[in-house]
């Protein structure tokens, strides 16, 4: 019997120690329907539990833009690179919000799903991936808001400001993927660490907010350079993405292939580390949580 079983080909071997890079992409593909169903679940449950429904998607960027315009634009008088202030802030906020959402929501994946993860197996990566896709819906709605505001300022331009859509907009899909993967990668690293150290969770919301100030959301890169802080700001991989985003939609911003290449490289590295750590954690996290 023993020899018999040795010679058979098994479909699945469950072992304690596997290589770090043993990521089951085939499994992931098999469960692709589950990903879509999770997205649908998030969407439906979101609608059913709110009064205003999708209106919430608008409220947050609108109010943030108004506050930023008042505080940074009018009180602090930070330049907006010759763009209408509302457009400048709204474009930054829209892109940043997607990244931040991906990061914060994936950073609690293990904790939020401890119950379901403890009861049934499916590739754990499905869960954070579905979050990233779910967030696309919200991002899409907010992008629509941005376009509406652009149309408004096209017909009622503010004196002394101008903007125009450039060919850079063709890079938009790549930018979205980069933001999603960067947020995902950081989120995966954080969720893996927070299974052991819960107190890090408090750092996340706070850290994301701080990180925003190190990104060109509330000031243009040219302004940072003027003040001599550009080297720090450019180290942030989100800077290249937001600058390219603004350049594509509004025609302003320091978009260079070099900075976008840097962002891409960083995204790949962070995502890789994130997946490896996540993969290692998922095996035994049920025992620790």
């Amino acid at each position: 019997m023993e020899n018999n079983s040795q010679s058979q080909d098994w479909d699945l071997v469950i072992k304690g120690h596997t290589s770090l890079f043993d990521i089951k992409f085939k499994d992931l593909w098999h469960y692709r329907d589950l990903l879509l169903l999770f997205v649908k679940r998030d969407f439906v449950s979101f609608y059913k539990q709110t009064i205003l429904g999708p209106m919430w998607f608008f409220i947050q960027p609108i109010f943030t833009t108004i506050v930023f315009t008042f505080v940074f634009g009018n009180l602090a008088g930070i330049s907006t690179d010759g763009l209408p202030q509302y457009l400048f802030y709204l474009s930054g906020i829209t892109a940043w919000a997607y990244f931040a959402d991906c990061l914060t929501k994936t950073s609690t994946v293990f904790r939020d799903n401890a119950n379901i993860f403890g009861k049934v197996y499916f590739p754990r990566l499905i869960m954070p991936l579905s979050i990233v896709v779910s967030n696309l819906v919200r991002f899409g709605v907010q992008l629509l808001l941005l376009i509406l505001v652009m149309v408004y300022f096209y017909f009622f331009p503010v004196e002394g400001t101008s903007f125009h859509v450039t060919l850079g907009i063709l890079l938009f899909p790549i930018l979205v993927v980069l933001m999603a993967l960067l947020g995902l990668g950081l989120g995966l690293i954080i969720t893996a660490i927070t299974t052991k150290y819960r107190d890090l969770t408090f750092l996340v919301t706070f850290g994301v907010q701080l990180l925003m100030y190190a990104t060109t959301v509330i000031y243009p890169l040219s302004y940072a350079r003027e003040k001599g802080y550009n080297s720090i700001v450019e180290l942030n991989p989100m800077t290249g993405i937001i600058e390219a985003f603004r350049y594509g939609f509004l025609g302003k911003g320091e978009f260079t292939l070099w900075s976008l290449g840097y962002s891409t490289l960083m995204t790949i590295i962070i995502l890789f580390i994130g997946i490896v750590i996540f993969n290692k954690t998922e095996k035994n996290f049920v025992d620790t949580i």
Binding site: M1, W10, L12, K15, L37, K48, K119
Partner: protein, 427 residues
């Protein structure tokens, strides 16, 4: 001959009980500082050390499973039994890939679907139909598979009328029916089921068992079934695995395995040590320290057959130099009905105290209780009965497993409580 479908080799799973993660970085740093730098005792090590199972003592690692080897053939229905803490759930968790083994490996052919719980991932806001899809996908089904089986699932669940209603409006029974219906229609080669039959009404339980029978006999699929319900295991499984302390105690035909199960010594639970945390009443002039139950062979156990002797041994401490005291022992059935109450004076015996700590044993010969679970209450009071020294309810439970040497007929609780075999004659 059928082929092996699951092959388990040297499988072990260890849990750390002592030095588990403290949960926060600041505490980990504090621990590092105190133990490694200052050389003090680890203040966080105490967590989990009261785990009674660790008869291994000093080590802070508990082997929940140790060196498990077995093979399951295609189409077998295998019952996994054992006491709480024997490692059943750990084995299921490993098989269903919820957690991974410490050493050893499991080789599997085909897909495994595990039902460690019904309705995993059900979302209250979604309708029954949407939840079928979601739950099915979580359990590993493709969307088109679910669509193909949708009618069958809805039909089996019997909640057709409410299928487009959010499940938060379902009764708990409907919820469970729907959840089991999804699971029962999985197309996996191996199905792992954990105690789900403990839910739902009797009729539905019967339906579930029937469906599981279909799955293993009719469709030739392999089923692993964990349950405490011996009748269900016996009725449904041909093979059995008995786990004890994380090791395989016996494996083979289900009848043999069940009889091994009922004869396991239940050391840990058949002894109870009392402390300040024990829920007790009285002024503690006399104080119970421990209590143990044994059978006529002096074997510490909680399982008895009818006709066995029940020896109740207790240690008592004299805190107030009482010279005499009384003890009352009451046996109650599982429906909390008092069955009898015994006191030393009924047997012309007196508890006369000469030492600080003394041990007594009372033997109830020829136990004639119907199969079932019984609990013991114990009290200590002064000889007039006016002053209660110590009183503990439900200090210990024991089980009458079968008719023993007296009878092999079925003895349901509804038929009676006390067994008599009087003499009969024709007149």
């Amino acid at each position: 001959m059928s082929k092996p479908i699951i092959h388990v080799e040297n499988l072990s799973k260890a849990y750390q009980i002592g030095q588990i993660g403290t949960g926060t970085i600041s505490r980990d740093i504090e621990r590092f500082w105190l133990t490694k730098v200052m050389g003090k005792e680890d203040p966080f090590l105490k967590i989990g050390e009261t785990n009674d199972r660790s008869s291994k003592g000093e080590s802070d690692i508990v082997w929940s499973l140790k060196d498990i080897n077995f093979e399951i053939n295609q189409g077998d229905a295998v019952g996994i039994i054992g006491k709480n803490g024997a490692g059943k759930s750990t084995l299921l968790k490993l098989l269903s890939r919820v957690t991974s083994p410490t050493t050893g490996e499991i080789k599997v052919k085909g897909r495994i679907a595990s039902l460690l719980e019904v309705g995993t991932g059900f979302h209250p806001e979604l309708s029954g139909r949407e939840n079928i899809y979601l739950n099915g996908a979580i359990l590993g089904m493709r969307k088109k598979e679910i669509t193909r089986k949708l009618d069958e699932i809805i039909d089996f669940s019997g909640v057709e009328r409410y299928i487009d209603t959010p499940v938060k409006r379902y009764s708990s029974g409907m919820y469970v029916r729907l959840a089991f219906a999804v699971a029962a229609h999985l197309e996996s080669e191996i199905l792992i089921v954990d105690e789900v039959l403990a839910v739902g009404d009797a009729e539905f339980q019967k339906k579930c068992l029937g469906k599981m029978g279909d799955i293993s006999k009719g469709q030739g699929r392999t089923v692993l079934f964990v349950s405490h319900n011996m009748a269900a295991v016996k009725g449904f499984c041909k093979q059995g695995i008995l786990l004890e302390h994380g090791m395989i105690k016996s494996i083979g035909k289900i009848d043999d395995v069940i009889s091994d199960y009922t004869s396991i010594e239940n050391y840990e639970d058949s002894v109870v040590y009392l402390n300040e945390q024990t829920d007790r009443k009285g002024n503690r002039n006399m104080e119970f320290i421990s209590l143990e139950i044994k059978n006529q062979n002096n074997l510490s156990t909680q399982d008895f057959s009818m006709g066995d002797d029940l020896n109740i041994t207790f240690k008592i401490r004299n805190n107030a130099n009482e010279s005499k005291s009384e003890v009352g022992i009451q046996i109650r059935s599982s429906d909390d009905m008092p069955i009898f109450h015994i006191m030393p004076r009924d047997s012309n015996y007196e508890l006369i105290h000469t030492q600080k700590e003394e041990e007594y044993c009372v033997t109830i010969k020829d136990l004639r209780l119907f199969p079932g679970i019984y609990s013991i209450n114990i009290t200590s009071n002064n000889t007039t009965g006016h002053e209660i020294f110590d009183a503990i309810d439900n200090i210990m439970t024991f089980k009458i497993v079968d008719g023993g040497t007296y009878t092999s007929r079925n003895l349901p609780r509804a038929a009676g409580l006390f067994f008599l075999n009087p003499s009969w004659k024709k007149l």
